[in-house]
């Protein structure tokens, strides 16, 4: 508990100070990045609580419970922003989701580094890249998805829930593969890269449309 809180304090404190100094979009980014850190901190504890309550083995909980819990927590700040912001722009929603995703993966990577005690440079690099792409891809999916639904009031609620489901399944598939044997692990690390490539293509198309 102390260790996880220490990581949070070390990462979030300078950002909280920056919140008072920054203005406009930078402030929003820093704020939601910090919210992402906080969500990851909560996720670590809620995950272990859920695993102990359900009586599942660690690997089983990692595939069945962790993805759903983490994606819900990551989506909460974005939903809060949507509820409180006055006529949010499409790009703002996507930006907020990405900031939360980045904050989340930053905390998670730091936590794993401390927990594993340095699993080697290559492992850190691969894990950082794959988990980073996975969390950010999920955040981008939610952000762009919600931004598309913004102008359609009645579609927003079912659409948001649907997007949450897509994220959770994608996350669960990633977790399933990376916790398996080595061959599947490689496939697991490739999966977020493929998703990121597909999202980049999609974004390119959207920019062409709006341009």
């Amino acid at each position: 508990m102390i260790e996880t809180a220490n990581i949070l304090i070390a990462l979030a404190l300078p950002l909280c100070l920056a919140l008072f100094l920054a203005r406009g979009e930078v402030r929003r980014f820093v704020g939601f990045f910090t919210a992402g850190l906080l969500c990851a901190f909560l996720a670590v504890h809620i995950n272990s609580f859920l695993a102990s309550v359900s009586g599942m083995a660690a690997t089983e909980a990692l595939v069945k419970l962790t993805p759903i819990n983490e994606e819900i927590l990551k989506a909460l700040p974005v939903f809060c922003y949507l509820l409180t912001a006055r006529s949010p722009e499409r790009s703002d929603v996507a930006g907020v989701a990405i900031a939360v995703g980045l904050g989340f993966v930053t905390y998670e990577n730091c936590f794993l580094l401390v927990q594993l005690g340095g699993g080697g440079f290559l492992l850190t690099l691969i894990r950082g890249l794959a988990a980073g792409f996975m969390h950010v891809s999920c955040a981008v999916l939610l952000g762009y998805g919600l931004s598309l639904l913004l102008n359609h009031r009645y579609m927003l609620l079912p659409g948001a829930f649907g997007l949450l489901c897509v994220q959770s399944i994608f996350h669960a598939t990633y977790n399933l593969l990376v916790t398996a044997s080595s061959g599947w692990q490689v496939a697991g690390y490739i999966l977020p890269l493929a998703m990121a490539a597909a999202l980049l293509l999609w974004r390119g198309k959207m920019e062409t449309e709006s341009g």
């Binding site: 069945k64 759903i68 598309l148 009645y154 659409g159 829930f161 649907g162 997007l163 399944i169």
Partner: protein, 206 residues
Amino acid sequence: MEKIVEIAGCFIQLGVLAFLAVWAARQTKEIWLFRLMTCAFACFFFGTLFWTLHIFVTGGWPQGFNASYLSYLGFYCFFLAAEAGLKEKWTDEQRSAAQRHRKTALLGPVVVVLFHASYILLAGRPVLRTVFSVFLSLLFYHILLGFFAGGAYRRYHGVVLVAFVLELLIYLMGSLGWDTIYYIVSGMQLAVWFFIIPAIKEGMKI
């Protein structure tokens, strides 16, 4: 056999998803329905992918609650979102046609509830199915309303209705453990999904 059927299902869904995504990318206007359908089939595909990979990685079907259940919920949610969007575009004539058949459309939820009762009686797994049934009831009601609105809406909702009736049958067969019929009906549903693309095109004409 089980693995072959799952892989085939995965590829067919990927095919439908790719076709929808490419189609959505090619449209110049009014593409929200294509985008929602792309998201819906992406959700469905990821669910099937998870299920198939689980069989390969662990050697068995996932037991109890798992992420692939969410694919169904997400799938229904995107279809509900599509229904909400389509309703926004109804003309007065279509709205009044649907209004006239409001009571008849309640047949949809009734059928879903009857199927749900049969799950409870035959398979004894009511809790999670109840969540599915709530979403499906809502969806069936809106699909039937859309069907009664007439015109291109009828053609779109007709295809969706057939696919979701097959979905109900798939649940029932799965719950009863009738694997052969389960796979046959699943195959029929996948075949129906191929007609969703021209159906959406029809739906978007209005």
